[in-house]
């Protein structure tokens, strides 16, 4: 179960929930991740920003386990998870949402979340009882959908709007009851109203769990982030609060100053 992890079980309170040290990944001649070091503290919302091609996707891949780094370590709750599989990391409390939604298109939103709830509950080698009517799965699923603000529970994913699918992505990640949520551009493709709604939903999550947020939407980033790390050409060039980042000349070089304006 993900709830007891870092803060219990004899590990005590840890300094950093997620600790990335010296992470490197090359693809042919290109250093996609170049000696990246960063921390996510318990309870914080840490944003990861950077221009396109900065290597954010590759970094996320190494944090979630889809990509194996060439060098460096990823430590979660004091445990080195660098070589752990994707599913094993989720079981330890590290969940993510996908930038390009990865959903089960033939099923309803409710069925999608119910499956995520089922996976978290851990009893999937059951062969006889029907899962589609199991209240123990459906009720938590409905609660999660309400928490993210998705109303059309019984609609097939193929028939949902883009904004609704992004909400569903978030619900799926939350179903894993994570301690650290990796959100990969949850606002991508959302309209103004939807972005505001998503920002509020994320704000409501703060404090209960830690979030590493990758985003281009600077309004949301500055509204939500406790700390920000800037990634450029695979290197983390600066980490700090919103003010520190805005004032940082290296960051201003990488981005146009106007992009950083509130």
């Amino acid at each position: 179960m993900a709830l007891w992890g870092c803060l219990a079980g004899g590990r005590g309170v840890v300094e950093a929930l997620l600790s990335v040290r010296g992470l490197r990944k090359r693809f042919g001649g290109l250093a996609a991740t170049d000696d990246v070091t960063l921390d996510v503290r318990p309870g914080e919302l840490h944003a990861l920003i950077g221009p396109n091609g900065a290597g954010k996707t590759t970094l996320i891949g190494q944090l979630t386990g889809e990509i194996t780094p060439d060098a460096g370590h990823v430590v979660f709750c004091g445990e080195d998870i660098t070589r752990l599989s994707v599913a094993a990391r989720v079981k330890r409390g590290l969940a993510r949402s996908f930038q390009i939604v990865q959903l089960l298109d033939d099923d309803t939103a409710l069925a999608n979340v119910a499956l995520a709830v089922q996976a978290q509950a851990g009893h999937s080698f059951r062969f006889w009882r029907a899962a589609g009517r199991d209240a123990g799965l459906l009720e938590p699923a409905r609660a999660l959908l309400e928490q993210v603000g998705l109303a059309r529970h019984d609609t097939r994913v193929a028939d949902l709007s883009h904004g609704e699918r992004k909400l569903l992505e978030l619900a799926m990640a939350l179903a894993a009851r994570p301690q650290l949520l990796l959100l990969d551009e949850p606002m991508a493709g959302l309209g103004a109203a939807e972005s505001l709604a998503m920002t509020e939903t994320l704000r409501a999550l703060k404090g209960g769990l830690s979030i590493l947020l990758i985003e281009h939407d600077m309004e949301a980033v500055f509204a939500l982030a406790d700390r920000i790390t800037v990634l450029v050409y695979g290197r983390a060039i600066a980490t700090g609060t919103a003010e520190e980042i805005r004032a940082n000349p290296a960051v201003q070089d990488a981005y146009l100053a106007e992009e950083l304006a509130p």
Binding site: T64, E66, S85, V86, A87, A88, V90, K91, A95, R96, F98, Q102, L103, L104, D105, D106, D107, A111, A114, L115, A116, Q118, A119, Q120, H123, S124, F125, R126, F127, W128, R129, A130, A131, G132, D134, A158, M172, A173, A175, A176
Partner: protein, 323 residues
């Protein structure tokens, strides 16, 4: 499922009554044909579990069919000769012994082959399952003691307390019973938590990993269950045909079983049985007209794939909903 119950009940009643109807109409050969359809239906249904629900395109599924059949054949042969296998395992002509052993043999083979093959996916997986089945084919071709290329007669059907399987009607009803039991089991599996995971793996394996599902073990378990079902089908077939040969596990047979699944309707409960009936029916009807009926089967198959991907069940409006 609730509102499907009345038509299913009618269908079942008709299936039970088939032998009497066939005899009354003076067409007793139909019963044999129908028995073949039932056995192949179990094989196709078992493939549908991993293919239609799990998305695993196994092109070597007939291996388990052949293994099930050969288990019955080999146990019979050693029973007939009075010599135990490897000097230790006695032969048997009792269905209550041979059927479970056939399923275990098929299951163990599926476990070993699945463990290896499921480390791959996509095109590789298809080729590897095909290759392993081919390996089994060559093994049995080389076993002259069990007939080799020519196959082996199983002169008498297995015995079961309470039934006389020499009566083709009783064998038919036995096979019908097993088909119904297997379909019931498969229906429950598909609706269960395990089945939901399997469907999820079919639709988006990456997503399943992201919610914490270690997909490999679920695929392997499904693969083993499917192998055991196919072994059951093979064992019943050996009893029906009273003959086993390596052709039962040849790549053509794997292809046939797959064709049945697609013809009937991938991912549906009855589709595989409907497909088996369609294919056997086509062979019977078209084969009566020309020896080269497969020349027409090719384009028919192409047409189904391109324009009627839901198969016959899809055309009847009862297809699986696919995006």
């Amino acid at each position: 499922m609730r509102n499907a119950l009345p038509p299913l009940a009618v269908l079942l009643a008709a299936a039970i009554a088939l032998p009497w109807a066939a005899e009354a109409l003076g067409q007793p050969a139909t019963i044999g044909l129908a028995t073949r359809i039932l056995c192949l239906g179990i094989a196709a249904a078992s493939l549908n579990l991993i293919l239609g629900h799990g998305g695993m395109v196994s092109f070597g599924h007939a291996l388990y069919y052949g293994l099930g059949a050969y288990t019955v054949g080999i146990l019979w042969e050693h029973f007939r000769l009075g010599e135990p296998i490897f000097g230790v395992i006695p032969g048997s002509n009792e269905l209550l012994v041979t059927l479970p052993i056939a399923m275990v043999v098929a299951g163990v083979a599926a476990a070993v082959i699945g463990a290896l093959s499921l480390r791959t996916s996509g095109v590789q997986f298809i080729m590897i399952t095909l290759a392993f089945a081919q390996m089994g084919f060559f093994l049995f071709v080389g076993l002259k003691a069990y007939g080799g290329d020519d196959g082996m007669l199983v002169r008498r059907r297995n015995i079961v307390p309470g039934l006389d399987l020499r009566d083709q009607n009783q064998l038919y009803w036995l096979c019908l019973g097993f088909l119904v039991a297997w379909l019931l089991l498969q229906w429950r599996i598909v609706e269960s938590r395990f089945g939901r995971v399997l469907e999820g793996i079919r639709q988006n394996e990456r997503r399943m990993a992201a919610i914490g599902i270690a997909t490999y073990r679920y695929k392997l378990v499904a693969f083993i269950i499917a192998g055991m079902g196919c072994g059951l089908a093979g064992a019943l077939t050996a009893n029906y045909l009273r003959f086993v040969s390596p052709d039962l596990m040849a790549w053509q047979k794997s292809g046939e079983i797959m064709v049945m699944v697609i013809l009937g309707g991938v991912g549906t409960l009855l589709g595989p049985v409907v497909g088996a009936a369609a294919l056997v029916g086509m062979e019977y009807v078209l084969g009566g007209i020309t020896e080269n009926w497969q020349f027409f089967l090719g384009p028919i198959l192409l047409a189904v794939v391109l324009w009627a991907p839901g198969g016959i069940m899809g055309l009847l409006g009862r297809g699986a909903r696919r995006g």
